[in-house]
Symmetry: C2
Subunit: 488 residues, 2 copies
């Protein structure tokens, strides 16, 4: 695949700038329709796209087909969100001469798109976190144009997906340039640095994401950088849960940490289990899934280096491994250590190892769980395998709320549903923007900013800010639901 | 005033960390009550505080009294916002086996406080953007603890206000350490760098704010930095508006740009007027207010240097000035240039000059207004003095929406009301976080982050996430108003 030349980036950025204002002006209904048209085109092209993805990612066909379903569902759900209009956060304050701090003028506020956005695609979800993935869908939904930097792991798929999406959007009335795909690391950096670009989104590694974050922050005009970087997704198993269903937890854990060959941002990477747990016994003897090829040679190399580093740690031993655990493709591995060792050397033992490995850390007293939790870096998820009567569960929850974006109760963190209440985010290094999510309908908020109109004639304002409620809004501080229009 | 020593910062940060978890756990009603108690104590101390502020700021007594009213009103309005609970953005998705992308688990999401926050106080509002100002009020409202770095311009007032607020909060049940005041630039930087601090807010200069932003972004764990830095707040006067009421606009402008001796973030700094406007004639002959002392010697020095730089520009002439315009205290000045000159040399002519000066830029065709607007940096405000039938007004509004946080129609930008719909923010350099506001009830959002609970027993969750609606929320994607409780 030819790399986009740096001198092309200025043309691409200007095209993106020209496009987004028209794209936003199409209005919410036409924008939503264009997104639905893009979803339909991708669905129709499944038999062309899935083989491309298969050849470039080594992920299995069933997984890729369901990932494409997820991707087009996401485009449609965000199109619905655009129509609902709640994300606009419309607020109307009528003039109030008796406002206690002094007469209040009339102010009407909503959220507008920020402008052109650069999205860096991920390797591990060639559909759902890539060209037409969640970041693209939420930026387009907000009314932004998108410059998509393709991941080098699946260039053919990226190019074809990009053509299909751009074509569908244009046929549905979007201006040319609403969606553009670029290739190559240097092109991505040049786009991130371009003055017309107003925000960026990224899913990938800690090193790569931090480097791009630093570039965004060092611009003459710094811009928001929504990066999803790194998480070990700790699991806390209480003695009561282990006693009640240690074997079942072992089964679920193996399914979760080997799903997609362990290449999920939300893969459980470390599990705290009571010393001598039946979970540990079950994991020792359980047959692990067969080796599965990783996404590409570079990922396999990084995984094997990380896995070797963990095994070389003096406090770590191998609890169970498939044949060829240190080969490529690697068989899954279960490693064993102690909670004390984790507390003593978090830097080595709580670093994400992207691939089919999990570290079990045995604890001797439940208080250690609180100590571990308090010492954690930011996480995308934290999971409790517990019983409702567990005294430790409430205390642990209170600590984990300060550390992770999503807490799970007796469920597994892999498989992130796209919903209204979903939260895929968390304090650094899970993300560079802990106040936001990159999955779910709230993901749209990242690409908007509030603008208030003071004293404007209603005729000069968009319908959403007028006197009829066409979207949920806050009127003089009171929440108000949209009223059905006269025609409804 | 003794500066806080850097080695004290670790103790202060740990105290802040210990406090915030308890402060958040007090619950919304008690937290709101504590904030109202702090407001009451400040109101009661007006006769002590206003003279302190007067001695340290040179702002007049009426202004300082009304600023204190604004400050305590703000604490109370944010306390009400805490009780309303809309800011929690509660979302409940029930389990849905038929969710199109695959069975949906139950997810319940709300926003939690981020942790200890450092607030850098401003010089120009010794009450409202200082110790007990908007950033403090919104961080406390969110459930965060606050380390307040006092502004060196009013140390005695800061110390006393800090004592009163901390005392009132503690008496109302807040843990010690919920609110702490520190002094000195190095102490502020040390606090900003402290690993326990999770966000920072700042109102001040471009140079100072950018330096702190860079420090926040370069931390091993970067944190959100909500800085409000610099704005020239352009005003666009259409020919029709000038013809209809040029003199009246001149009168309003003089009131606005000299208010508080021009020391407002929202001071109109540049006004685009038709060549030969009656506005310009009126400004030429209008008597300007008397000289007023600036906040302190440093501000006066910076102002006079900036004013001299503007006057030395070859395209700038003095349209009107009071006697002693280049002395300290300075008399107000009205400067004159052309829109072409502004377009040709924005860097010189569109740089904020903090103090009683305004630049009038004459244009010869209304299209120039669109050109100027498109070239603007980010702004806190942009103002139209226009008539509803002006064709240019709609076009100009569309461009200005992309540049400013608040647009005004035939009103003046100074005097920012604290309301539900207010937006005090904008693209860089107006702020470092264009998606947020530092004034109004939405300011609380900056200090929260979302957390989702998947599959949790309701008994382990806060009431807000339970099955009774006690706050506005989104249930399965549908907005729902709180139901009155049984006792109501």
């Amino acid at each position: 695949m030819l790399e986009t030349q740096q001198n092309e980036i200025d043309v691409i950025a200007r095209r993106s700038q020209a496009a987004w204002e028209q794209w936003a002006e199409l209005g919410r209904v036409r924008r939503a329709d264009a997104m639905r048209a893009a979803a339909a085109v991708l669905d129709d092209a499944a038999d062309e796209l899935v083989p491309l993805a298969l050849a470039e990612s080594h992920l299995g066909e069933p997984r890729l087909r369901s990932e494409l379903v997820r991707t087009t569902f996401q485009l449609r759900l965000l199109a619905d969100t655009v129509c609902d209009g709640g994300y606009l956060d419309v607020r109307v304050d009528h003039a109030a001469p008796d406002w206690p701090m002094g007469a209040r003028p009339e102010i009407r506020r909503w959220r507008v798109p920020v402008g052109p956005v650069v999205v860096f695609a991920a390797s591990n979800f060639p559909f759902a976190f890539s060209v037409a993935g969640g970041d693209t869908a939420s930026a387009l939904a907000a009314g932004c144009s998108v410059i998509l930097k393709a991941h080098p792991g699946h260039p053919q798929l990226s190019e074809r997906t990009g053509q299909l999406v751009a074509g569908a959007l244009e046929r549905a009335g979007a201006p040319a340039g609403t969606f553009q795909v670029i290739f190559g690391e240097q092109a991505g950096v040049a786009a991130l640095r371009h003055p017309l670009v107003k925000a960026a989104a990224f899913t990938g590694s800690l090193a790569g994401g931090r480097a791009l974050y630093d570039i965004a922050a060092a611009r003459p005009e710094p811009i928001p950088f929504f990066g999803e970087l790194s998480s070990v997704n700790p699991v806390f198993v209480t003695p009561a849960a282990d006693a009640a269903r240690g074997e079942q937890i072992a089964e679920g854990l193996v399914g979760s940490f080997t799903l997609g060959a362990g290449q999920f941002c939300t893969k459980p990477g470390v599990v705290f289990a009571p010393a001598g747990a039946s979970l540990v016994s079950a994991l020792r003897v359980r047959e692990l899934p067969a080796p599965a090829p990783l996404l590409n040679g570079r990922i396999a190399e990084l995984y094997l280096a990380g896995e070797r580093r963990l095994r070389a740690h003096p406090a770590v031993q191998v609890l169970n491994e498939g044949e060829g655990a240190l080969s490529d493709p690697p068989a899954p591995t279960v490693l064993l250590t102690t909670a004390d060792a984790v507390i003593a050397d978090q830097r080595s033992l709580l670093t994400e190892c992207f691939g089919p490995t999990v570290l079990i850390a045995e604890y001797t007293a439940t208080e250690q769980l609180l100590e571990v939790a308090a010492a954690l870096d930011g996480q995308l998820t934290a999971t409790l395998a517990a019983e409702e009567h567990d005294a430790i569960a409430r205390e642990l929850t209170a600590v984990l709320v300060t550390k992770a974006g999503r807490l799970l109760w007796n469920q597994w963190s892999t498989g992130v549903s796209v919903t209204h209440a979903q939260q895929h985010g968390g304090p650094y290094p899970a993300t560079t923007a802990p106040g936001t999510t990159s999955v779910g309908t709230a993901a749209i908020d990242r690409f908007t900013r509030p603008v208030a109109f003071q004293g404007f004639p209603v005729a000069l304002l968009p319908a959403e800010l007028g006197d009829e409620s066409v979207a949920p809004r806050l009127v003089d501080g009171q929440p108000e639901l949209p009223r059905p229009s006269a025609g409804a």
